[in-house]
């Protein structure tokens, strides 16, 4: 029997306790990973290379305030802009839904071609969409979710606009960070609203990331002191500011996470001290046999570390598998989409568990180190 089997045998001798401890550490690690993933989902938008080349210009008053269509001519002349299209959030409800988990945008299809460059049409044809003003381009995720096919119709009830849409699916795109959106001809909005052409935002692509700051400054300057002042920012900055509006959610998840870590600590600490207290006499025997303090300490540390580690592996990977299989988008009606458990989050939870394993070995190890062999031998369970 070598040292390792000795430690393993010791750890497993109360099998029930091992199972309970490992499971409670696993559950806590799972909760921790889930919370961190939730926080990431709510505060950090998905990153994409193409997004850093895109700029969104909105009304300085707020995103809900429209911009006049005549601004297009001015924006087009700003150097550094490759393509620009109106981009208007429709906010419709699909079919009979009470809450719709994907957005619909009115765009100029011809101009839009040069903006969403990372997406490719996987079914139908882009030109078919351009040619038919009552058609739309749909993200592959939405197509799959509602089991639709090219040629089917999608009906939307307007919540912001006093109009409904009935769109034929002409093309399906895939390959963007968010393959859910529905894009339709902005002309439908212009005709229905009869407001001389108002758009929600301007969506554009710039030549390179290097010119983006100049382009942004030029757009802001172009409409300064006009009746519709503009705030331009990169797509990523735009998404970040939207996420920051969630307000105090971030600090809340953070505090809940720390409570979870605290409970996790209590559980492992108490288990370890229970396990060691039971074995005080044996440890005294080991001491009497000539084992050094640091050897005893490493026995205890290895056991506690092993228990915490097993729980962590189970909890972290279990959670990872769970969230990758569950269709969260369907479950939360589109509120949570990706819920990607990143390696970084998993590593963080792993480190927390490891630190816990070490910390919970400290108390019992100190007690063992301090005990005199005689007192230890006298202890009864």
């Amino acid at each position: 029997m070598n040292i390792l089997t000795f430690i393993a045998k010791n750890a497993l001798r109360n099998r029930r306790r091992v199972i309970l401890t490992v499971s409670s550490v696993a559950v806590s690690c799972g909760v921790l990973v889930t919370l961190q993933t939730l926080q990431r989902e709510l505060t950090i938008p998905p990153e994409s290379e193409a997004a850093s080349l895109r700029v969104i210009a909105r009304n300085k008053v707020s995103i809900a305030q429209p911009l006049p269509a005549r601004q297009l001519g001015v924006i087009e002349r700003i150097p550094g802009i490759v393509a620009v299209s109106p981009f208007t959030y429709f906010g419709g409800l699909y079919a009979e839904e009470k809450a719709t988990g994907f957005a619909q945008f009115g765009v100029d299809p011809e101009r839009f071609r040069g903006i969403m460059v990372e997406g490719r049409v996987v079914q139908g044809a882009y030109d078919d969409w351009v040619a038919d003003r009552n058609s739309c381009m749909v993200g592959a995720d939405t197509l799959d979710r509602y089991k639709l096919r090219v040629g089917d119709h999608m009906r939307f009830t307007g919540t912001f606009y006093p109009m409904d849409l009935d769109l034929r699916i002409a093309a399906v795109f895939q390959g963007t960070v968010d393959d859910r959106g529905v894009f339709f001809h902005h002309k439908l909005l212009d005709d229905a609203m009869d407001n001389g052409g108002a758009v929600g935002t301007w969506y554009m692509r710039v030549e390179s990331a290097a010119v983006a700051p100049q382009v942004i400054a030029a757009i802001d300057r172009a409409f300064e002191n006009s009746s519709a002042e503009v705030r331009a920012e990169t797509e990523r900055a735009f998404q970040m500011s939207f996420m920051s509006m969630l307000g105090d959610v971030k600090s809340l998840t953070l505090s809940v996470s720390s409570v979870v870590v605290f409970t996790l600590m209590l559980v492992t600490v108490s288990t370890m001290s229970m396990a060691i207290r039971e074995r005080f006499r044996e440890l005294a025997v080991l001491k009497a046999l000539g084992f050094r303090r640091h050897e005893l300490f490493s026995f205890i540390l290895a056991e506690s570390f092993g228990l915490a580690g097993a729980g962590a592996v189970l909890g972290i990977f279990g959670t990872w598998i769970f969230w990758s299989t569950v269709n969260l988008q369907k479950l939360t009606a589109g509120f949570l989409v990706y819920f990607e458990v990143t390696p970084r989050i998993m590593a963080m939870a792993g480190i927390v568990a490891a630190v816990l394993g070490i910390v919970s070995a400290m108390g019992p190890a100190l007690a063992v180190a301090r005990m005199s062999v005689v007192d230890g031998l006298k202890t009864i369970d």
Partner: protein, 387 residues
């Protein structure tokens, strides 16, 4: 015969070290669940106590929130002159056509920006909302670029003090007063003159109409009439009902609270089981003695369940104490219907705390079930012999 409760209490106290970890663990779980539910409760409460039951809110059919609604001036004229609408002493209709505009403003202390709702309102509209009281400064003068903001909002946004300014694009609005809306949804709003709002923000149309029908019968008749009039394309609803339904923001928080509560309670059950198993194991001889004295298996099971319940119940109480300081804590989040920041206060109510303690006790009882059965099954003789 049942074992005396004192026996369980004393046991919990004697084994204070392991008791304490269980109590704190369960306390933390309960505190988290209570705080999350208090948050959802707060959001619901702010929309739940908004409005006057005598008022009717008219919005466009199909719109989900007032901010996404459009009401034409013709519609307003039609609604205003309906028979059901009450008149004041001057013979004017008690109806207010209002405009909702969203404005992005900087948060205090460099916390980024947030959206806030501007309500263009008329003197009638202010009379129709007795919940809203001016607490500082004065009301805006029609025809001036002046606004009155909620005092709570004033604490969250940069420059929102009386005498401060609010920038909306090229327009600068001076803040001339603070109002208090008693924790209702209006506490997340900025008010200004309706015509001024329409001219600044270039709005041809209104967003909504708030009217006071003559009496309850007139209210029903007004709602039906607007509903059935195909020309109007409007929807009329009691103001309080409209706001009571605006709780979509609380739903995801509730879901998170129950998921998190479920998962964490599972962990807590394992921890409680651990403690109780250890407690049974170290009391083997004691249990044998009890059996010899004539206590039945059932009494032993009941006793251990009660002990687990007491232990967890103390944990629940600790959880309540931990959650209690959050009561009244004011926070803001994005309203998913208006896309503007909505303010609310955490509400740790007695029923939430009672539910938290009940939740804790059930964790304790479930966690002690298996250990208790094990205790009851111990063969008496060998139990007595054990060290």
């Amino acid at each position: 015969m049942a074992l005396p409760l004192k026996y369980n209490f004393r046991n919990v106290v004697v084994r204070w070290r392991s008791s304490m970890t269980t109590v704190l663990g369960i306390g933390a779980v309960v505190a988290v669940v209570i705080v999350l539910r208090a948050m959802a409760r707060g959001i619901e409460a702010s929309s739940g106590n908004t409005g006057d039951p005598r008022n009717v809110l008219v919005v466009r059919k199909g719109s989900q929130a007032e901010s996404g609604s459009l009401v034409t001036r013709e519609h307003f004229r039609t609604v205003q002159y309906l028979d059901e609408v009450a008149r004041n002493e001057n013979g004017e209709a008690v109806a207010s056509a209002e405009v909702i505009v969203m404005v992005t403003a900087p948060r205090r202390g460099g916390g980024g920006e947030a959206n806030t709702l501007l309500r263009g309102i008329t003197p009638r509209g202010i009379e129709l909302r007795p919940q809203v009281r001016l607490v500082d400064g004065r009301w805006f003068d029609p025809g001036h670029r002046e606004v009155v903001v909620s005092r709570r909002l004033g604490r969250r946004f940069e420059g929102f003090e009386v005498g401060g300014t609010l920038r909306a694009g090229p327009t600068v609005l001076s803040i001339v007063g603070h109002f208090d809306a008693g924790g209702s949804a209006f506490d997340s709003e900025v008010w200004l003159d309706a015509d001024e709002a329409r001219s600044i923000f270039d709005r041809e149309q209104y967003s909504s109409i708030l009217v006071r029908p003559r009496d309850e019968a007139a209210l029903q008749s007004l709602v039906n009439r607007v509903e059935n009039d195909k020309q109007l394309t409007l929807r009329a609803e009691r103001e309080v009902d409209y706001y009571a339904k605006q709780t979509a923001t609380a739903l995801p928080i509730k879901i998170v609270a129950s998921l998190l509560g479920g998962a964490m309670s599972l962990g807590a059950v394992f921890a409680a089981m651990n403690t109780m198993y250890a407690s049974v194991a170290s009391r083997t001889r004691e249990i044998g003695t009890l059996r010899v004295l004539g206590f039945s298996r059932r009494a032993v099971v009941a006793s251990f369940l009660i002990e687990g319940g007491i232990l967890a119940g103390i944990g629940g109480a600790v959880g309540c104490l931990l959650a209690l300081p959050m009561n009244g804590y004011s926070a803001g989040t994005l309203d998913f219907q208006t896309f503007a920041e909505t303010l609310f206060e955490f509400r740790v109510t007695p029923d939430l705390m009672a539910a938290g303690i009940a939740f804790a006790v059930s964790i304790g009882v479930v966690g002690s079930l298996l250990p208790a059965l094990r205790a009851a099954r111990l063969p008496v003789i060998s139990a007595l012999k054990s060290l």
